[in-house]
Subunit: 387 residues, 2 copies
């Protein structure tokens, strides 16, 4: 690959026309796709495959692997055998898929690898391929809207004394942040799930499009959204750790954000939400710091009612025991899930019966995946910082 | 992979301890690496391999592929055969490498794929694996420095009428941009190479660390740096097109930047530079708009002296013909290269002989790769916007 790059560069610098170079270039030109199929929005620039049929919601894959013995696609819990043509190109067409974003892998002789045709989406602890099955107009809320003002997602490294290294965060600031240079904003801390990273909410979640739309429509208060990494190297059991987030937030991240951005730096103007394991990190962090957070959401990640001792009175160190006290201290406890995944209905019912105010949301027809969480953010964001 | 994610999520939500889950978690724990080897800085969180020996500059790779017949690493123009152990894990150790950042691929039964252990670096039109061979203290200029103020890289989508779609750019603003809310800044447009994208200068190039350091040391003027994509869909020969950048810049990008950021919006405060093909896009764009740009740099991408007709007088439509005029209109023509790649010495000598003022820089011992371009930026940025 580097050889190729050098070869091309040398070609360009030296002005020679190389057949290899031209061939590759031409190979990238749009080719005719089967009727009804279009390149997925998740593909790299000019890659035709995976191609999606918006009507049937089938996906067609193509892999060039002349010397492989067996090539498969692993998508939504099913492995599809691909068929090889005489040029060594393998293809297959999937079953109809649920709308939204799905990770997938290519299996080259049994080894799961990323498809070269898509952008990289970090999930399950590696840079995975992904494919977006488009919704109709109901998906407009997470698409780019050229007719409204846009916020910015800022890539920032800050120093963490706890880690002893620089940590990367993404920070969304709403449209007008630069122009309204004396305005201060509330802050939502928004965390990804297990195996994902601080880029997930932007890349897979399209959070900027969702927030831009809600704010432009007057449905959500203009706010800053901080997206940190939930993987923190202070605990020996780093991958499952939830508590570590708490000390990084309290000692390094929140002070850094309040110093660097024009925030409203108090409990009533600070929220936290997360998906899957990030939901668990949200409960760990918020319940240990009820004086710091006034609003919270767990998307497919509420861990209540676990184990024999976890009654409403005892769960989370008894934070729910005094319902009136909890309701007074916490403006919003938002719990959401997809209807096609494990639902925390028992916990939610028990909380409600105990007198805890819960806003419960179900995403119809979706499982433990990003469309569930886009919808959750779209429901959650309008409810916070309004008191 | 999704199955795994769902399984884990269900485990977490339902509170069941699954052996698979625990096994994966434990598998991610740090293991003992061979003496002198440390995980590369380019690895994903907690991945031990590729491991780099800073002294010998060798790289050790590890790939889990129990069912593959043959696994190789393709690094710096050489394919290394990997050796399989009884658990299906393949390893190999490379020859000593040049310091800096190198793309590489894993070959699974002959098919080039990305290594699951590294972050994704977009190069040669796919999300590639990469490995950083650390320099000693001489590499400090591109490393994060916790003791200086930091700028921000802002991820922005703007609407392009020419493309009829949203286009992604990254924009670096220097430290103090938010606080000094009436200050206006000059703008450098900085373009990636063939097969790369608008994230390359941040991810592979560490441009924010370089600019932060130069500005903090007073070597460079505080400036905005705009990093667009050089791949534009208006030309049928999209991959080789250089001219397309010109119309996108003039009609969409520059007006958008001058409207959105506090720029000094004139020729003396606008520069453009690019690497490899981005250098060619720089010459195309700047020479067609000498009234818009006052400073320019081509890093491993000066295409002069190509073909029989390309004398100094005729190259680039005669822009150099009147040397005095060119020198008056262009404050800086910076041309750089690595010593281990094709060098534009003939063109540079001819330009100088003709009376054109050229600043020529060579990166010692490096080829057509990112360390060459980090060094080029570090040399170029201090020279612009000073008149």
């Amino acid at each position: 690959m580097k050889k190729l790059l050098v070869s091309i560069a040398m070609t360009m610098v030296c002005g020679l026309a190389s057949a290899q170079f031209a061939g590759i270039m031409r190979g990238q030109q749009p080719e005719k796709l089967p009727d009804g199929f279009k390149p997925a929005s998740t593909n790299t620039f000019l890659a035709n495959y995976p191609a999606v049929n918006a009507e049937t919601r089938q996906v067609m894959f193509k892999v060039v692997a002349p010397t492989a013995q067996n090539v498969q696609v692993d998508l939504a819990n099913k492995k599809y055998d691909m068929t090889k043509d005489d040029k060594g190109t393998w293809t297959c067409v999937s079953d109809p898929q649920v709308v939204g974003f799905h990770y997938y892998a290519i299996l080259i002789d049994g080894v799961a690898v990323m498809d070269r045709n898509t952008e990289a989406f970090f999930g399950s602890n590696w840079e995975s391929s992904g494919v977006e099955i488009p919704e109709g107009a109901e998906g407009d809320y997470y698409r780019f809207n050229k007719n409204i003002p846009h916020g910015q997602v800022r890539s920032i490294y800050y120093w963490s004394d706890i880690n002893g290294l620089e940590r990367h965060i993404n920070v969304y600031v709403p449209a007008g942040y630069d122009e309204n240079s004396s305005t201060r904003y509330p802050v939502l801390y928004l965390v990804h799930g297990w195996g994902e990273d601080e880029n997930g909410w932007s890349n897979q979640g399209h959070m900027a499009n969702i927030m831009d739309g809600l704010i432009a429509a007057g449905k959500a208060v203009p706010m800053i959204v901080v997206m940190p990494s939930g993987d923190i190297k202070t605990n020996s059991d780093v991958r499952t750790a939830t508590g570590d987030v708490t000390q990084i937030f309290a000692k390094n991240l929140i002070p850094y954000i309040d110093k660097t951005f024009r925030t409203k730096a108090d409990k009533q103007n600070r929220a936290m939400a997360g998906l899957s394991r990030g939901g668990m990190q949200t409960t760990s962090t918020v319940f240990a710091n009820m004086d710091m957070f006034g609003w919270m959401g767990t998307f497919s990640g509420f861990g209540g009612m676990r184990g024999a001792n976890n009654t409403v009175e005892t769960m989370y160190n008894g934070v729910f025991k005094d319902a009136a006290k909890f309701n007074k201290e916490m403006n919003l406890l938002f719990i959401s899930t997809g209807t096609e995944e494990g639902r925390p209905t028992a916990a939610v019912e028990a909380l409600k019966k105990h007198g805890i105010k819960v806003v419960y949301h179900e995403s119809q027809g979706t499982a433990h995946e990003w469309l569930t969480w886009r919808r959750a953010l779209n429901e959650f964001a309008p409810l916070i910082f309004k008191k």
